[in-house]
């Protein structure tokens, strides 16, 4: 007690505890996806610190005479040698390396799933747009930090990745060559790139990520957590359990479970066995050279792109690389900007703390599904050789499939998912009005058979009908009351169009009204 008083006098912990310890969080498994990311990030930092104790970020050449005899007498960089030493001579080194790498894959996969939970439920709406951007930045920084980590051991695979990056940067019009010289400190590979990547990988990017993460979590506290619709839940409250003791216990336990699962797969399955790949030499390359999964879509863009090259005003433009590079940025940025596009379309300035069901926002849901499809198609392209050998296909056919699917599949998926959402809305409407099917067949006096429906309980009915349906934005009449043609800005016209698309009758089924419900419930609506 004395110690607590002492600390309170200096840190004000009582006030903090009072306002935060009983903070309420709603309970749902999908709200724990972000936690998976947080915990795997912590695991990455902890294991990463251990690895830095032994890793030598140096490209100085040495000859290996260590305990892994199959590489005896092979010249290699200090970076590669120290990674071999970590794997074979440092106590627990290989396990820690594998935990570090597996946790990185899980971290980014977790961010993806977390992000799409937020996306499909509309949790990015006001007031959470900034937090969406923070999350997006964390994702992209995770990509790049993962890529840098993959590059550090200086094995044949990572060196191929660094070479790939050189090519991508070189393709930047006009300044590409200067950028490469600046980045690599001279011609590829030079002696600078590993030490530079190391500093960026362990200091710069993780530092920024920690800051963003803190901001992300503070905003979650500040905004309070969103919740799914249900009786007693409103835009003004949060229904759930208090942080202390329920979520302290749950979250603490979950951390250890995340650590346990990642440690278990790290003990079972090898990842990035650098001793198999050999040290990097610019004259060597292996087939099946792919980046880690999250960069797979960039690899796919490059692999699917025809090798176009044009000369323009005395410069060679390597479109075969530059277009994929530009698309890489574009595909990601679209995701970052989506909340702002949607709020522009809806013109909605209200705060939203109740989550949407994906089916009730068909255009958004279809857009998200189309984006994922595009991403997966590109990723498939990145693994075209593995797909070809393991499914006995021609790699050329796989590449052509990717080229066509890149344009066609997202559109198909968009249309299908939108219709699917509409179908589910219809189903909800029927369910709300008529109740669920009982399975009991009833024979009426005049001989007709019909199935009896059981009306839903109020708490089942509530989530089906409680959501908002927006009315499409209407343009004012073309002429005003004096017969003068009204000036409507292009912006407004575009908005009206988009709004009609988002909320018109082709994108939402009018939800059941109270009158409809009462009419059917009172038995006048007939049976179906």
């Amino acid at each position: 007690m004395k110690a607590a008083d002492w600390a309170d006098g200096r840190l004000g912990i009582y006030g903090l505890a009072k306002s935060n310890l009983r903070k309420i969080f709603p309970d749902h498994w999908s709200f724990m996806l972000g936690e998976i990311c947080l915990y795997s990030f912590i695991i990455i930092i902890l294991t990463g610190v251990y690895l830095t104790l032994f890793f030598q970020p140096s490209m100085a050449e040495t000859v290996y005479h260590g305990s892994y005899t199959p590489l005896n007498g092979i010249p290699m960089s200090e970076a590669y040698k120290s990674t071999l030493d970590i794997s074979f001579d440092v106590r627990g080194g290989l396990l820690i390396r594998q935990i570090h790498h597996w946790a990185a894959l899980v971290f980014i996969a977790g961010m993806f799933v977390h992000m799409f939970r937020v996306f499909f439920t509309g949790a990015f709406r006001k007031p959470r747009e900034i937090n969406w951007l923070f999350g997006f930045l964390l994702l992209v920084l995770g990509f790049f930090d993962g890529f840098l980590g993959y590059s550090l051991p200086d094995d044949l695979l990572s060196g191929t990745g660094v070479r790939f990056m050189e090519g991508a940067v070189l393709s930047t019009p006009v300044i590409g060559t200067y950028l490469v010289m600046f980045l690599y400190g001279g011609e590829f590979p030079g002696n600078d790139i590993i030490p530079r990547f190391f500093t960026i990988h362990v200091l710069l990017i993780p530092g920024i990520m920690l800051g963003l993460l803190a901001a992300h979590l503070i905003l979650v506290f500040y905004h309070k957590h969103t919740q799914y619709a249900g009786p007693g839940r409103s835009e003004k409250n949060v229904v759930g359990m208090p942080l202390m003791p329920v979520y302290m216990a749950k979250a603490g336990g979950f951390f250890f479970l995340v650590f346990g699962v990642i440690a278990a797969i790290s003990a079972i399955a090898t990842i990035n066995p650098i001793w198999q790949m050999g040290p990097y030499r610019p004259d060597q390359v292996s087939t099946g050279a792919q980046p880690d999964w999250y960069m797979g879509f960039a690899e796919g863009l490059i692999r699917a792109m025809p090798g176009w090259e044009i000369r323009f005003a005395g410069h060679t433009l390597v479109l075969g690389v530059f277009i994929p590079l530009a698309l890489f940025g574009l595909i990601l940025v679209v995701l970052a900007l989506y909340p702002f596009v949607e709020s522009w379309v809806t013109g909605d300035k209200r705060e939203h703390h109740i989550l949407d069901r994906p089916r009730n926002a068909p255009v958004r849901t279809a857009f998200g599904a189309a984006w994922i499809t595009l991403y997966l198609v590109c990723m498939l392209g990145g693994g075209n050789d593995i797909v070809a050998t393991h499914f006995h296909l021609s790699i050329n056919d796989v590449t052509w499939f990717v080229r066509i699917a890149f344009f066609v599949l997202p559109v198909v998926v968009f249309i299908v998912v939108k219709r699917w959402c509409m179908g589910l809305q219809r189903k909800d409407k029927a369910l709300a009005l008529h109740g669920r099917e009982s399975g009991n067949m009833v024979k009426l006096p005049h001989g007709e058979f019909t199935e009896a429906h059981i009306p839903l309980e109020p708490e089942q009915l509530y989530p089906l009908v409680s959501y908002d349906q927006q009315v499409p934005l209407k343009l004012p009449p073309a002429v005003d009351e004096n017969g003068v043609k009204r000036k409507v800005s292009l912006n407004t016209k575009m908005r009206a169009r988009m709004s009609a698309y988002y909320f018109g009758e082709k994108s939402q089924i009018p939800k059941p009204t109270v009158e409809e419900y009462k009419e059917i419930a009172s038995g006048h609506g007939g049976h179906h």
């Binding site: 498994w29 199959p70 329920v246 699962v261 399955a269 090898t270």
Partner: protein
């Protein structure tokens, strides 16, 4: 008259010289073991190979000429089941071997008799124990990995062709493949790679793909690199964690009714 006499003498001399130097015995069947094997091979060839490669291995529109490919090429193609071809396709896949070892030998001997070519190597040429694994790894990464992957798991080539996995391929067949360059593979003959180099490469492949190969880090996930690692991470990493999350969320504290 003199002309006639000279002509007669000349004819007599030619005939006499011919009679003196011409092979005395009549042409007669060679009954040595080698020759019998060739004949046996010729018969097998006529049944199993000649429809594409021609009765005397001269080739046709359906198959290349086998004159000069040597016994090593036949031993590889037939010994790994690639030949006889089951159906036309991008390339001949490895399959169940159709002939007994003695028959493979006979076919090899017949094709070798058509023209000089690389012979079947002797066991000491390809003994993995005699090679240097580290040097072989260096050679493998320089010459082989771009098609066969770092550790010989295989990879894709254009239009459905592949560089096959080297798992379970015998050292002799690896040697023969390097020497003869089957199908899409370039040949690493004596001019490119010395016998010692080939032994080193075989030692490397054997260390990675032989039955004594080990994986210090756990399951290799196919040895294919990040593609399978990503798949594994998603399914067994994130997948397991989501199951755990669902489990935790399902066990919530309830208001106790006392």
């Amino acid at each position: 008259m003199a002309v006639v006499v000279v002509l007669l003498f000349a004819l007599a001399a030619t005939g006499g010289l011919y009679a003196a130097f011409a092979p005395a015995k009549k042409a007669q069947a060679d009954t040595s073991a080698q020759s019998l094997t060739v004949q046996e091979g010729k018969k097998l060839f006529a049944v199993g190979c000649a429809s594409c490669h021609g009765m005397n291995g001269e080739g046709s529109s359906d198959g290349p000429s086998l004159i000069g490919v040597g016994a090593a090429a036949v031993d590889f193609q037939v010994g790994t089941g690639r030949m006889p071809l089951m159906q036309p396709g991008p390339q001949a896949p490895r399959k169940k071997v159709a002939y007994e070892p003695a028959q493979v030998k006979a076919l090899s001997a017949f094709v070798a008799s058509l023209g000089a070519g690389p012979a079947i190597p002797s066991a000491s040429d390809y003994d993995p124990a005699k090679g240097d694994v580290a040097a072989g790894g260096e050679l493998f990464r320089t010459n082989c990995a771009q098609c066969h992957n770092f550790v010989g798991e295989g990879g894709a080539l254009t239009k459905g062709k592949t560089a096959p996995s080297l798992k379970g391929v015998s050292p002799k067949h690896i040697y023969e493949a390097m020497e003869t360059g089957p199908q899409n593979m370039p040949s690493f003959g004596d001019g490119t790679m010395s016998d010692k180099n080939r032994r080193d490469v075989i030692a490397y492949v054997y260390s990675k793909q032989g039955h004594e190969a080990s994986s210090p880090g756990g399951m290799t996930l196919g040895g294919l690199g990040p593609v399978t690692e990503g798949l594994f991470g998603w399914i067994f990493g994130l997948g397991a964690l989501i199951v755990v999350a669902i489990w935790i969320a399902a066990r919530t504290s309830k208001v106790r009714k006392s």
